[in-house]
Symmetry: C2
Subunit: 695 residues, 2 copies
């Protein structure tokens, strides 16, 4: 199971093999020579046992009901007494309300009286649902079929004037009339009808649901024996780590991986414990691992330090407490994952440090171990087949996990891959699922159907509006408004620039595209482009906002940039938007007008995909200027030189315009809430919002 | 919204209307004039916020990364220095390991030296992933592409003998050689690449997932504002209630509804608090409701006392603290449910007492209120379409919720309704989902496709073996073995007797049937019946067990029953099995042989559907005797008069015999584990287990 040599990453098969062996060992500790003293299970009160896994079958201690019980509110009768009852020939029974416990005595008393009153056929006892059937009685007639007579109507000579006596309770008449016979045991729940003593209520391995609690408690089981939750000790390592919330120096990053991992461990059924963050120090880390094992941790996870970097000690740490089983996996992200065991067979894992890699490798390798401890199969994720909106390139020899954003456009699901590099922390959050590309596949073409393992439920994703094209902050505002509504939905957006958006819409990959394309000849926004690139489809251009475009520069404008011409100065480096982006076309338009060839502009070739990314580059000092919208500049405290107001439209095919999800997007765009929130951002002109142009 | 008159139960529409209004009111308290002092939300630490609902959008406080960071282990370089690098013409850079924080000074030092060593083109700084890029540098070259030269190879005249100096760290060579140019910002994660300060990370109404914690903490949000969980105060009422676990008198039932309801409230996102169980006393119950409202409960639930029984106070209790909105719903089970509001608009519900009714009405009426408080839509249950294995009869004017057991036989799902009366506590546990029959429908025929709302995941149900027919305890043993296996599956069984089983198998509604049918002419079990009733299908009769059949009588045999003839005595009442059951055919066979007409046997017409139910009837005293198997008698401590050993076979169509799930059932039946467990039950002869007869 040892890798051939360092740096040769292994395919997933050895991993699966090593995990299987490990799980068999863990399982053996449960199943082999199980003894009650082995602390693999524990006893918990049934009322606290929801979500726990039964360690042995649950057998009923008592029957339910444990007595013959009335199944209806009404009267308990002797069925035989009622056989002659009919509408024309009713049967009269002498009645008493039964006080629980007193029923027997009352009945004894009545039994003696039964024949003493001539017209009365027998006795009955008022019972509520759940009351015991008094001995000697064998059926219940429901209240609706009982006609209380009151005391006065009983034809008994020796009890005159009783009718004045106060009634001793609602419906507790002295005599009743019935017009239909009862059959034996009608409306009676017999002993054990529901649960029979000794019967198996739930099998071993069952995960206890809220509704199971009823059956267990009804069966007299106030406690149950369940699988103990494995304790997973998490050790965050890295000299660069700082506690979240403190001011950070360059090179310091907030330590949040342990919080994420804790939450995942809890979700999967383990008990997380977290070590303080340790510096990259072999002795400190291996002491912590040893300490965790001494304190009874079932699983130890070191995060990170599992790759080949200078300060990556985890492989050596694992070897110091036991054996390294697998080093590295041929997957991306997540390559440098480690699996080892302590000398007494407890799993010790090394997970990579990038949050997305950590989550994916924890899902692949830690989750099955926790489920193994609990004796449960790993639950499958829902899968769906979706059409790729853009091609994906993958490396041979590596199993690649591509995060996808998914939506449903018309009758088909569409999936857009998220950028691989981007989204180190937010990548999982922004994606709806993942597509696995096998080690022998070089990628998939646009339009191909791929399988997506969903981490959001498909029903949730189906409601989303898929808007692919140019990005604007007002889309985030719409998203927020729609999320807050009584029937929440979202906007699943991918940022591919305005022209990319038109292509996506024309191919049916999106409900709409955000576009702001200046036609250099006519000076008109959007319409000429849509007519040119999507001649075959009837569509609507819906004006979402007018946006002030301009040049973003650092606060104080240190390079004294006053207009487009300054961007060509040798001491100025810009950051540009990607090919096809409306903002890039705007820059090209201005450069052309001024006769400046693009290649004299330093940084013209550096492409970012959003306004905020351009603003961040300027803020971070890697560029002196970049074109973008006022809102982005304002969000990061940059100075701004306005150039023009451009039309930011949603291009919506006719077929989607007045149906959800787009009708709801349009509705949200016309709400006062949208107006208020966008005006607060600044840099927008909303006077034409809602203007509709059919193309 | 008041019902027309008592006892006229309303359809669900008024309920939905009342619920909608109530939810709008609750929502208004959030959305209308929200003020920070209104305690509808609360601040919690982000690391503890998983599963909570964001009360407002989360905006980033800091960018991530908050500095330009190395995206790879390697060296930070000035891209311009590397432009001429090629395999034939490598570029040599003078290198230093950067100690975090010291990088700047080192670099300052080197910058001065840059030209002093002739063959060296520039400087570089060793960086690990995540390290800050030192000022002046603008790209990273990954370790794999760096060739460390060691100090000896640098052609600098004034530093002889340095090669002996100890290396100050893995890979920290004094000089490196590179053969490929770097482009600016390659392998650098720029400020804000992932999260930009001020950016919206998550929208209002979002349910926080483990992976969201990474993004929130990376964005500097160590706490988040979430919806407060509504406090649901549960008041169990009923003079008959006893704490679970104590010895019970007749008429007492263990109080478990509050435990079930607590677990459900928690699952739905509320905080349950539980009142002590109260007797049926108006003053006590209304004092408890008032107390709960005074203590700040958001929702109060009284359970039960909501029907028209003599001691049902809940409607009056609700009127005493506010207003009754809806009384009763036209549904079964669950009719007597109540919805009211306190004077200040807080929901007060009355739920019925039967556990199944309580769970269904809580699901219909309490769950949407809790989700309303949390501002979330009620999640939908998975639905599937399944063929009915038997007909269902339903009443007009009532929306009926039929609990279903579901399996997949061949390519189609099949659903078998559970008995309606039975399973008051275990009915939900034993069912896989529910089918709703509208108020205007009188039922569905066998073979019709119906929709089932699943409460178990369809994937789980799909693995099950569907075995419809005669019941035997050994099926429970098989179920338990299969549940415990590494890939757990179950047996979904419905008890319709042997002949019902053959019909189900022949119609393709089941993978197998449990049969034990004695042919009165030939004295042979099963084979003649299968040939007669299923001539068209090739099948296998798999011998599961030989069973000792006999007469079950109370311990001590008070009526001195010695054989079948005694069952015809006038002082003996029996309990029988349903038509088509093998045990009933056995009784008929003996009665015929003895020349006893069935109608002289008292109780012949009373039908139970399982051996255990018959045993329970005898144990409970409602019958003096009943035919059944030894194991059932032994389980309840009854005496047993053996009659014969019969063959209990599984009838399995050829097409299912050697494929899962049936191959796994057969395998489990052949395991030593099965043998041991069944022998422990007693009354079985396993010498022919595994015998296969093709028919």
């Amino acid at each position: 199971m040892e890798p051939k040599r360092d740096g040769v990453y292994l395919h997933l098969d050895p991993w699966r093999e090593a995990l299987d062996k490990l799980l068999c060992n863990i399982d053996g500790r449960y199943r082999g020579e199980r003894s009650p003293t082995e602390d693999m299970g524990e006893t918990v009160p049934t009322r606290k046992a929801v979500g726990r896994v039964l360690d042995r079958p649950a057998f009923a201690l008592i029957s339910s009901p444990h007595y013959n019980a009335a199944a209806m509110d009404g009267i308990a009768v002797v069925a035989e007494d009622t056989y002659t009852a009919s509408e024309t020939n009713p049967v009269i029974l002498r009645a008493r309300a039964a006080n629980r416990g007193a029923a027997t005595e009352l009945d004894g008393g009545h039994a003696g009286e039964r024949t003493s009153i001539s017209s009365i056929r027998g006795t009955c006892v008022w019972v509520d649902t759940g009351d015991p059937i008094p001995p000697g009685y064998d059926a219940v007639i429901m209240t609706e079929d009982v006609n209380p007579l009151g005391k006065g109507r009983i034809a008994s000579g020796n009890e005159p004037g009783i009718s004045e006596a106060p009634d001793d309770g609602e419906g507790a008449a002295e005599a009743v009339e019935i017009i239909r016979p009862a059959h034996p045991w009608q409306h009676v729940r017999l002993i054990g009808e529901d649960i029979v003593e000794q019967e198996m209520i739930l099998p071993e391995g069952h995960v206890i649901l809220p509704t199971d609690v009823a059956a267990l408690l009804a069966a007299g089981l106030t406690e149950v024996h369940v699988r103990r939750k494995p304790v997973v000790h998490i050790i965050p390592t890295g000299t660069e780590l700082a506690p979240p919330g403190v001011a950070l120096a360059p090179g310091e990053i907030p330590e949040f991986n342990s919080s994420v991992l804790s939450a995942l461990v809890e979700e999967w059924g383990g008990v997380p414990t977290t070590n303080e963050a340790l510096p990259d120090d072999f002795d400190a880390i291996s002491a912590a691992v040893r300490g965790a094992l001494d304190n009874g941790a079932d699983i130890v996870v070191v995060n990170a330090g599992s790759s080949a970097g200078r300060e990556d000690f985890t492989p050596r740490v694992i070897q110091s407490v036991g054996r390294l089983l697998v080093r590295g996996a041929a997957i991306r992200p997540g390559k440098p994952v480690l699996l080892g065991v302590s000398r007494d067979g407890r799993p010790v894992l090394g997970l990579p440090g990038y949050p997305v890699s950590m989550v994916l490798t924890a899902d692949l390798f830690l989750k099955p171990i926790i489920y193994g401890f609990l004796g449960r199969p790993v639950p499958e994720r829902p899968r769906l087949r979706a059409y790729l909106t853009t091609r994906i390139v993958s490396s041979l020899g590596i199993e690649e996990f591509i995060r996808m954003r998914v939506g449903k456009v018309g009758e088909r699901y569409v999936a857009t891959p998220l950028g691989r590099g981007a989204g180190v922390t937010t990548g999982l959050l922004k994606s709806d699922g993942v597509t696995v590309i096998g080690a022998l596949v070089e990628g998939f073409e646009e339009g191909r159907e791929v399988e997506v393992q969903m981490w959001r439920p498909p029903e949730e994703v189906e409601k989303n509006a898929v808007i692919i094209g140019s990005h604007d902050l007002s889309l985030d505002v719409l998203h927020d408004i729609l999320r807050r509504s009584r029937d929440p939905m979202g906007i699943s957006s991918a940022h591919v620039g305005s022209t990319g958006g038109i292509t996506a819409v024309s191919k049916g990959y999106a409900h709409a595209a955000g576009v702001h394309l200046l036609d250099e000849t006519s000076g008109v926004y959007n319409i000429p482009y849509v007519k040119r690139y999507m001649p075959q489809k009837k569509a609507v251009l819906f004006r979402l906002a007018g946006r002030v475009q301009g040049i973003m520069v650092p606060r104080g404008n240190p390079k004294r940039i006053e207009g487009i011409a300054d961007l060509a100065r040798p001491d100025v480096t810009i950051v540009n938007r990607q090919r096809g982006a409306g903002t890039r076309i705007l820059l090209d338009y201005y450069l052309k007008r001024l006769g400046i060839p693009p290649d004299v502009v330093k940084g013209y070739g550096r492409e970012e995909h959003t306004h905020m990314a351009v603003a961040a580059a300027v803020k971070g000092g890697s560029a002196d200027a970049g074109l973008g919208i006022l809102a982005a500049a304002r969000a990061l405290g940059l100075d701004f030189i306005p150039l023009t107001v451009e039309a930011y439209d949603l291009l919506i095919p006719e077929e989607f315009f007045d149906k959800p999800p787009m009708s709801r997007v349009v509705e949200a765009a016309l709400s006062p809430e949208f107006k208020k929130a966008v005006e607060r951002l600044g840099g927008y002109d909303l006077s034409e919002t809602g203007k509709v142009e059919r193309v």
